[in-house]
């Protein structure tokens, strides 16, 4: 489904093997702190943080803050952009709304 691939940021997210491994680890653990994720992998802390941020922004993981720690779990329905129109357009409109804001800001 090349059309779907081009249309979704989700596919872009999952194309990166390290990022996919991070997501799979979170899915396996249920919920896991960012610090534990770093300990159990050969990837550096800044790299893990970057992947977590990207996954969060794509709606694939959710975060929960507890003191100094941030815990991550898989967001229900995060993969829906690949599955149906409703999921696709949720992501689509949030992204386009951001574009709209950016364009209005540029005009100032």
């Amino acid at each position: 489904m090349p059309g779907a691939a081009q249309l979704t940021s989700v596919v872009k997210m999952l194309a990166d093997p390290t990022r996919r491994a991070v997501l799979e680890r979170i899915a396996r653990e249920g919920e896991i702190a960012a610090t534990s994720l770093v300990k159990g992998s050969r990837v550096s802390q800044p790299a893990v943080s970057q992947h977590l941020r990207a996954l969060r922004d794509a709606g694939l993981v959710m975060e929960r803050r507890e003191g100094r720690h941030i815990h991550y779990r898989v967001a229900p329905g995060g993969l829906d952009p690949l599955i149906n129109w409703l999921g696709h357009y949720r992501t689509f409109w949030h992204q386009r709304f951001e574009n709209l804001e950016r364009l209005l800001k540029e005009d100032e």
């Binding site: 489904m1 090349p2 059309g3 779907a4 229900p76 409109w93 709304f97 951001e98 574009n99 709209l100």
Partner: protein
Amino acid sequence: MRETHSITVEKVLPYSAEKIWRTLTSCERIAKWLMPNDFAPAVGHRFNFRTSPMGDWDGVVHCEVLACNPPKLLRYSWKGGADSNPAYGSRLDTTVTWTLTPAEGGTHVRMVHDGFVLPGNKFAYDAMNPGWGRVLDSVARVTAEG
């Protein structure tokens, strides 16, 4: 009557309704934030958005302006997809409505995309809702940081 679902995105933006209206209704402006199009702000005008083809669907979204009341209300139909496609890329017969309302600090912008018929069951829809609430939060946060 089939059960339908909608998507709502809304936010107060620090600009006048007139300025936002121009961005929502100028063909060139729409192309910059949404998609290539041949929109014109006149009720009854038929236009297209073009995106990537998907299975038996050519990637063309067929639209018609249903309401145009500057700078408050804009509504267009949004049709596309193909019957032969499963789930994503399947037949789509929906409506997009933009509402602009003066608000403290700017204009309240509300977009409702309505008329989705779900291929799956209702349980799946309900299960994903909390997740998407967080997406909106993160979108807002990222926007604020930018």
